[in-house]
Chain length 324, copies 2
């Protein structure tokens, strides 16, 4: 049982990362209005959020800019149009997806960019390529996180090897990523202990990015807080791929550091997130996501089920269990 | 950190209680169709659910039968029309609300009734009256649970006194009830330890009934499973007052006892719960419930906000924080 102080006091090392544009962008092809993005930036400033992730730094060789909103690519100029010189305490992040990012050319030196943090997303089998992205970003002056995806179906031994490799790079934060929303809080406790062991050895921090397939995104995130994990991803109204993420408003309500403030989040949700939902953008917990989470599967079948506006859950159950 | 076996194995003492008609009935004034109730009974049988709660045993002196569906009153004849002689392993429960139930006359001896379990719902300040209901029900031959409501704003010392009084009665199960959806898993761990201490002393079991105001109903329930709590309340599609309860389908997906089976639950939800929602019955997590949960308040203001179809969350925040 954790110490009671873990609930009533706070650790000043905690950092909240707003991933609304990046993970939420997966739901609407990154087509947010400029007003949405500007209000989101102001909201994060007022709410005391520590890092705002604007989107992906996706390869324009691989993806056609006409098919997506601008936050799929996060040109420095587009970010600067929102944040100006960003003379604030809010750090700006973008995600570089290993294998889908022309990082050597598209990521400019930090001194020329409004971006502060590069988040490197990788699968376990791409770790050497991830190391290259990390070293490139660190050499250009950025803070760097490494987000190892889909660990719920990885071998613990492989994760340990990956953390040991990453420990020797200039990366600042190891991220626990429950891509399939398959993990329970007790598993998070064990995984956090493993990540924290390597973080202590190499002088790194640990973060968590949760999905809500089993209504555990918030529960897993606060479990991690009690386990020494510092960087916490949230999204407003839990907007994110499939079942969505940990709700920023739940995090702001939970965390006790007086620098955090839920009221701007409430105002933003009232103005923007209700409207997105009314406009037909769909995300969040539902039976199809429970089932892929329970089975520790990628949510792509559940996302397609949602897109097709299907409601035949029992047929879907037979489909996903036959994929085992 | 709990033993890994707590996740991968199972305790045969676990009992799942379906509270859909009772807590869900608070949302639609207990106006379920007969087909819904019959299908629910069959679903619980097939899913391996241990106890099905049909509703309240409410006083007909106090409540007009015209204003509610029949499951507000749970006449034995109405239950028997669904379950016949119930020659099954599924136990039938009803709830007796202390102060709102004519238990001496309305609860007949168990030998004449299809009911097996009387669940006595009480506030801390009604414990002596609850004891009277418990003793009456036990003398009539029933299994009895005592559900102490709204403990999130009670003094621990008072709860200990209540459990010590209840320990000396013939009650079988002490229930942890998070009426306001205000508790976090770490608090559940501490409360479960306290309840289990008295349960061990007096030879009782412990149960949990959670609410989903902060998306923690399932997380708190599985936390309790790891802490030795045996009786677990769930409702299909988490139907229940305000933000709803722990979803039965999440419980069935999580618990490892092979007697439990999620597929009938999926079929039931597909046929009935989707339709209830389409018909405009509203329940479940939303910002207004997060706010009353965060503030450890009764959800009545959030329920009224929902009924009024309001979406002005920031105004609501000012209202509920001014009630402190």
């Amino acid at each position: 049982m954790k110490e009671i102080s873990k609930l009533l006091d706070y650790r000043s090392d905690i950092r909240i990362v707003d991933a609304t544009l990046r993970d939420g962008g997966l739901v609407n092809n990154f087509r947010f209005t400029d007003e949405f993005v500007k209000d989101l930036y102001q909201t994060n400033l007022k709410a005391g959020v520590d890092v705002m992730e604007f989107g992906y730094k996706a390869s324009k060789e691989m993806f056609d800019v006409k098919d997506f909103g601008k936050w799929k690519f996060c040109d420095d100029e587009d970010i600067r149009a929102v944040v100006g010189n960003n003379d604030t305490n809010l750090k700006i992040a973008v995600m570089a997806d290993v294998g889908r990012c022309d990082y050597k050319t598209d990521i400019r030196p930090r001194s020329e960019s409004p971006v502060d943090v590069i988040r490197v997303a990788t699968y376990l089998n791409q770790i050497p390529a991830a190391v290259d992205v990390i070293e490139d970003a660190a050499a250009k002056g950025y803070e760097v996180t490494c987000n190892i995806m889909a660990i719920s179906n990885a071998q613990e031994g492989d994760i340990r090897v990956a953390l040991d490799i990453l420990g020797k790079t200039p990366v600042n934060v190891f991220y626990i990523v429950d891509s399939f929303g398959a993990l329970f809080p007790e598993q998070i406790a064990r995984i956090a202990a493993m990540y924290c062991e390597f973080a202590a050895k190499y002088g790194k921090k640990v973060g968590i990015h949760a999905h809500n397939n089993q209504q555990l995104a918030f529960a897993n995130t606060i479990e991690a807080v009690g386990d020494g994990v510092d960087w916490l991803d949230g999204t407003y109204s839990e907007m994110g791929r499939g079942a969505g993420n940990c709700a920023m408003e739940l995090l702001l309500a939970f965390l006790k550091n007086p620098k955090y403030n839920i009221y701007p989040a409430i105002q933003f949700i009232e103005k923007h997130m209700n409207k997105l939902k009314a406009d037909g953008v769909v995300w969040g917990y539902d039976m199809q996501y429970l089932l892929t989470g329970m089975l520790n599967q990628h949510p792509r079948t559940a996302i397609q089920f949602t897109k097709d506006k299907r409601k035949d859950f029992s047929e879907f159950y037979k489909e996903v269990t036959s994929q085992e």
